[in-house]
């Protein structure tokens, strides 16, 4: 899509034609949301393939966080439909969305710093014995946690280390691992590479790629940093003023092209604003 075509498109761009219907794990049709006088979403038609990593790009207030909050069950949409694996769903709560395998991963909010890696992985899904007493099977959980982390190629030096003593990247990896271990099929990642060095980032990029390619986990990534998005994602959606303004495979675009698109949109908006003021 070129700069000349993009402004004022009323219909959203056609989603990627290569996605077969059976491979679509998450689909939204015409999602709208307003908060009082503010229209946050004006009809979002979005698709997410199995094992696909989709990046959401957009300025503050463009509507991407509203979209994510609807997808994770925090807000209900005003109108529009959400389909998970072809079935229409409606979420009344975050727990509802989690029931359908959709889970948000926050970098610093997800873990309890004073609990160990294994304890964090099993938080509120503990394995216990003696029924209602809830006596912890600590050894079993340790072993399962170890095996699972090995499976998804996350190497944590000490499974009994407190989360507090881990690096930001390791904590993020544990948070992602917990979500997928608990059968999350669609992960919503909010700035997963924020405040990380190159090595740390590599750990998360590898994990995201491994989970999406080898385990079919789909992910939606929000990030302001184009470099991060190009590293992580298969496809990018640019959201502007509550709609998807651009839907592009990462391999078909570049940081420069995307920047140009967004800047031109911004200029156009500024010009429109000035016109309004002059009237």
């Amino acid at each position: 899509m070129t700069e000349a075509e993009s402004p004022l498109v009323e219909a959203s761009p056609t989603p990627d034609a290569t996605l077969a219907a059976s491979d679509v794990v998450l689909k939204t049709v015409g999602l709208t949301k307003r908060f009082g006088a503010v229209v946050a979403l004006r009809g979002i038609d979005m698709q997410l393939g199995r094992g696909e990593v989709l990046g959401l790009v957009g300025d503050n207030g463009a509507g991407k966080s509203t979209l994510v909050k609807i997808l994770c069950g925090f807000h209900p949409p005003d109108t529009g439909k959400i389909y998970v694996e072809g079935k229409e769903v409606s979420f009344r709560s975050v727990a509802d969305a989690r029931g359908f395998g959709i889970e948000t991963v926050y970098q610093d909010l997800a873990l309890v710093p004073q609990l160990t890696v294994a304890q964090n992985l099993f938080l509120n899904r503990e394995i216990t014995m003696f029924g209602k007493v809830g006596w912890l099977s600590a050894g079993k959980m340790r072993q399962l946690a170890k095996n699972y982390l090995e499976d998804i190629k996350v190497e944590i030096p000490d499974i009994d280390a407190e989360a507090e003593s881990l690096s930001g990247g390791q904590r993020q990896a544990i948070a992602v691992a917990r979500a997928t271990r608990q059968n999350a099929k669609i992960l919503l990642l909010d700035e997963p590479l924020a405040a990380m060095g190159a090595r740390e980032s590599a750990l998360i990029v590898d994990l995201v790629k491994d989970l999406s390619r080898n385990r079919g986990v789909s992910m939606i990534v929000i990030d302001h940093n184009f470099t991060h998005l190009f590293e992580l994602c298969d496809r990018l959606n640019v959201i502007q003023r509550g709609r998807i303004a651009l839907d592009q495979q990462v391999k078909d675009t570049s940081v420069e092209e995307l920047t140009k698109f967004m800047v031109s949109e911004y200029r156009r908006e500024l010009a429109a604003g000035q016109e309004l003021l002059e009237q």
Partner: protein
């Protein structure tokens, strides 16, 4: 695909022990990592010091005195470990400790058998804990203020009911009395039993893990589906029941109950025992063993000062200074331990 390895991490890892002396290094590392290390050291220090200063310190009679003295704030300390792990605090435990024998006395004088009077008093204590918890979580008032208010209210209820007149406790005879407080080792054995129970609850059960999670990261705990409010209310109920039970046992041991004390003198040593033992005031970290050692530290301190005949006027100053010393040692050694843990 590149493997994510430990070396990817930007934090330096603890170096693996190498060469000669590695066993010693490992041992030192293990010892320093123990959160309870400081309190072990200061407790050993006061025990040795008072043992040298006065030979009467190691007599059975004196050990019984210390045990009877420290049982109350040890038990309150165990309860506070739970509450502090949540990131809350309970200042009403002392008032519960003092008022539960009154509840029992009132039920007994109204014609209940003594066993049932104890049960009924425990139900009242659970009710107090529930009120503490529910006001804290549902009306979103700081537990410090809620429990302080409940502390004064309970004190007031006891004063009104008793008309500020001392009474004699029932249950002073027979095997019953030996088990419930009068026996020389009775209260410390009950305290030990409660220590084991609360330790197992906190460190070995799902509930205890949820307590730590709630105090460590409330948002993450709630996000993972833990019913954090319910966990909190239960902890307030547990500390009230524990304090109430040890209160009844102490009252039976002493033989009479006096309405003229507000309870803060009882709950504060309990909190000090928990905190000196290594429990964080900010939540997420609690050690029951530490609280037990902290209670022993306070008990030995008080008893030792009495034995060596410290002037009563100097007593509180000395106690205050010792607590400060213990806490400063705690934070300083804690910093060293953290370096070893990483």
């Amino acid at each position: 695909m590149a493997r994510a390895t430990a070396s990817d991490s930007e934090t330096p890892q603890t170096p693996a022990p190498k060469g000669p002396g590695s066993v010693a290094y490992w041992l030192v590392q293990r010892v320093i990592q123990q959160r309870e290390l400081t309190v072990v050291l200061v407790t050993l220090f006061v025990i040795i010091y008072f043992g040298i200063a006065n030979s009467a310190f190691y007599t059975t009679a004196n050990i019984i005195t210390v045990c009877q003295y420290l049982a109350s704030f040890a038990v309150i300390g165990f309860g506070e470990v739970l509450i502090l792990s949540l990131g809350e605090i309970d200042l009403s435990a002392g008032a519960v400790y003092l008022s539960s024998p009154w509840f029992m006395y009132l039920f007994w004088t109204s014609g209940m058998p003594i066993g049932w009077a104890i049960v009924a008093a425990m139900v009242c204590c659970a009710g107090v804990g529930m009120i503490n918890g529910l006001i804290t979580v549902w009306l979103n008032v700081s537990s410090l203020i809620v429990t302080l208010a409940v502390n004064y209210a309970l004190f007031g209820i006891v004063l009104i009911e008793s008309n500020d007149i001392q009474v004699n406790m029932p249950g002073q005879t027979g095997r019953f009395s030996i088990i419930f407080g009068v026996g020389a080792w009775s209260t410390i054995l009950w305290a030990t039993a409660m220590m084991l129970a609360i330790w197992a609850l906190l460190k070995r059960t799902r509930f205890g893990l949820h307590v730590t999670a709630t105090g460590g990261n409330l948002l993450a705990a709630a996000e993972s589906g833990i019913r954090v409010r319910r966990v909190k209310v239960w902890c307030f109920i547990i500390i009230s029941c524990a304090s109430g039970l040890i209160g009844i046992l102490d009252a039976i041991r002493i033989g009479s109950i006096n309405p003229g004390s507000s309870g803060l003198d009882t709950v504060l040593p309990g909190i000090v025992a928990a905190v000196v033992g290594g429990t964080a005031l900010t939540g997420g970290r609690g050690t029951i063993i530490g609280a037990a050692l902290g209670a022993i530290f306070l008990g030995v301190l008080e008893d030792g000062f009495n034995l060596i005949g410290v002037n009563a006027n100097w007593f509180y100053l000395a106690e205050g200074v010792m607590i400060l010393v213990a806490m400063v040692a705690n934070t300083q050694l804690g910093a060293v331990a953290r370096r070893f843990r990483r």
